[in-house]
Amino acid sequence: MEFHQTQLDNGLTVVAETNPHVHSVAAGFYVRAGSRDESAEVSGVSHFLEHMAFKGDETHSADDVNRIFDEIGARYNASTSEEVTTYYGAVLPEYLPKALEMLATLIRPSLREEDFEVERQVILEEIGMYDDQPTSVCYDKSMESHFIGHPLGRSILGSRESITALTADRMREYHANHYGAGNIVLAVAGNTDWDEVRDLARRFCGHWPTGRHDRNTEEARPPGVTRVLRRESSTLQYVIQMASAPSARSPHRHAAELLSVVVGSDSGSRLYWELVDSGLAEAAELGFHEYEGSGAWMTYVGSEPDATIDNLARVKAVYDAVNADGVTAEELERAKNKVSSAIVLRGERPMGRLSSLGANWIYREDYRSVEDDLRDCAAVDVSAVRELLDAYPLGQTTTVAVGPLASLVPGTANENDPPSN
C-alpha cells in the first residue's frame, strides 16, 4: 500500500492509498460542512443539500445521476453528520473515471426549484421516520441538551418547521459558503494508481471555486441538563447520558477509544457484565464521540421502565469505580485485541480504508496506515488511560430519557418537560 497526497490550485486536497491486491476502488468527497455550521434559521440545510446533490447539475438531470451510477454498478451513498458531509462510492477499477466524474457532479448541483419541492417531502418523511424511533429521538434530544448553546447541539435533520420554511435560495447561499474547494478533501482507496487519480481530480474538480469556511471550534462547556420525554406508547425506556470527552485532535483519543471498549462495548465490557449479561438491560453501552474541538462520552441504556432508575445507579457505580481506580492491564490488553482485529478486518475492504483515510485527513490532516493504527492502539497503557480519566472522567453531565417514565427520580412523578413528540 502506498500513500499519496497533493493539493490542487483551487485548494482541493487529494489523498490516496493505492493497493494492487484488492479488486475494487472506493472514492469519496469529504466536505467540511454539517449541522454545526448552520444557523437556527436554516437548521437541516446541510443534510437537505446532501439529498439535493443527487438531483443533478447543468449537464445531468436527476435521472442521469441515478442511471449512470447504476450503469457502472457503483455502491454509492452519502451521509451528513454534525461536521462532515460525505459523498462516496465503490466500483470496479475500470469505472473509477466515471465514478469520480459523477461524484464530482454531486458537489456542484443546480438546486432546481421543482426538485427542491419534491425532496422537501422526502426529508419530511425522513423526519417522520425518526420520530417513530424512540432511540433516534433520544439521540437527537441528548445532543441538543448536552451541547445546548453550542453549535454541536444543532439537529442534523432539522425540524419540520425549519425544513418547511427553507428556500432554495438559502440553500444556494449555504452551498456557496461551504462548498469551496478548500473545504473539501477527495480521498481514494484501493486498486488504482496515483497518476490517474491526480489527473482525474484535476479534470473534474480543477475548475471549482476556491474557499474555506471557518468554524468556531471552541470546546463546549455543557451546563448539565436532565430531560424526561414521556412517550407512553413506548415499550422500553431509553436513556442517553453524556459527559465531556477528548476532541478529535486530542492526544487522549486512542486511550478514549480503548476505554470505551473496556467499559462499554456490547460484549465482555464492564457495563455488559453488570447490566446486559445479567438481563437487567437490553443494551448498555459507552461510546466515545470525537468532534472538532470537543468530544463526548455517550452512554446508552435501554431497559424495562421499572428497572431504569436502578440501572442508571449501576452505571454510575461502574463509572465511579473506573474514575477512581482506572482499568486493569488485563482488560486493556483484551480491548486492544478486539480493536486490533477490527482494524485489520475493516482494512481489508477499500470502503473500510476510505472511511479511515477521509476521516483522518479531514479531522487531522494526517495519514495513518493499518500498521500505524495497530501501533497507536498497542501504545496505549494503563497510565495513559489514567491520564485520560483525570482529564475527562466518565460521567452523567446530561441525561435524556425517552419512554413511559414521567421521572427518573425514585418515588416521584413530578416535574419534567411537557409531553413532546
Partner: protein, 429 residues
Amino acid sequence: MSALPLEVRTHVLDNGLVLLLQPMPAVRSAALSLLVPAGSVYEQPARNGTAALLCDLVTRGAGDRDNRDLSTAFDDLGVQRHESIASEHVAFSAATVSHNLTATLELYADVALRPRLPEAEFEPTRLGVAQSLQAIEDDPRQKVMLELRRRCWEDPWGRPSDGCLADLPSVTLEDVREHHALCFRPNGSILGIAGSFDPDAVTEQVERLFGDWDGGRIPTIEPGPEMPSLDHLDYDSTQTQIGIGYPSVPYRDPDYYTAWAAVSLLSGGTSSRLWNEVREKRGLVYAVSASLSSLKDRAHVLCYAGTTVERSQETLEVMFAEIERLASGLEAGELERCKARAKTALVMQQESSVARAGAVARDWYHLGRVKPLEDVREKVEAITETDVLGFLAENPPGDYTVVTIGPEPPQLDSSVSLRRALSTESDEG
C-alpha cells in the same frame, strides 16, 4: 480484471458435518460461518423463542469454561462474533486475524458440542431475549417486515426466528435443553471458513475437533395455521409502515437469477422503478425497497415502504402499479444496469473473508454445493429481456400479502390498481 478466487475445498466428515474452505491469500483475517440446524422451525408448538434462548445460552459457558471465561477467551482472540437465528439454523459467525483461527475453532467446538446450558444463566437469558423483542415493538420498520413474513409463509416457516413475547414466558429450560439435544448435530450442520490459512491443517483440526460429534435423526416439521393475507396493526406513529409480499422462486430454482433480475428492476439501485416512482418523482417516502427473500423451498418478494398516514394510500397504489407494470416490458439499459450492480457485488464478496464465509455456507445449505462466482457471473450476464418477461408471464406477481402498521388502515379496496392487484385474493376468499 480481478483474478478468480481459489477453488472452494469441500470435506464431508463421516458424521455428516460439511466443511467448506475458501482460501483467500490476499487477506490477513479468517472468518467462519457455522450453521447448525436448530432454527425456529424446529421449535415445539407455542414455544416460539426456544431457538433464540438456546442461541444465547450456548455461549454462556461451554467445555471447561464458564460464561465469563468463554466470553473472555473470545475477546482475548479479538474475535468479532455474532449469533443469529434463521428459520432452519442457528448461525454462528466469527472473524479475527488469521493466526487466531486455530484457537477460535477450539472455542466453537466447545460451543457446538459441549455447551453447559447452565440453569443459573437461564433467567438472565430469558430477560435479555424478552427485552430485545420489546425493542422490536418500539421499531415499527422492523416489526412490519416480521409481520409480513409471518403472513407470507405458513407456520413454522414464517415464524419470527427471534421468538415472540406471547410464547416466551412458557418456554422452560427443559424445552431449551431438549431443543439442543434434538437439533445440535453434525448432520445438517455446515462450517464455512474463508481467509488466509493452511487448508490441510484446518481440515485436520476440524476432523479432530468435530469428528466425534454424534449425529441424530432429523426432526419432522408439522405445518401450522396460516394468517390472514391482508392485515393492519394499530400503532401510535407518525408514519404508516407498509409491507407487501408475493411469491417467487427460491435460490435453488433454475430461474432464480431471472427472478432476481425482475426484483432488481424494481429495487436494485437508485435508477430502479420503486425508488424512482415512489421516492424520486413523488417524494412519498424516505425508504422504499423490495428484495427476493428465499428459504430452501419457497421464496417471496418482500417490499417495504414507510410514509406519513395521509400518503399511505397513494404509496400503496404506486407500489402496486409498479409491480404490475413489470410484465409490460423493459426500458433500454435497465437490465444492463442490474447486471452491472450484480457484478460489483460478486467481485466485492471476494474482498471480505466475512462475506465469503457466509456465502459458501449459505450456498451449501440451499444447493448442496458451492456455486463458483464465475458461474454466477455467467448466469447473470446471460439473462435477456425475453427471459425476464417470460418469467413474469409464467410467475406473474399476485397472491399478495399486505400488512400495514400505523394509526389507521389504508382503504385497500378503494382504488383501481389495488383492486386489480388484489383481485386474485378476493376471488379466492
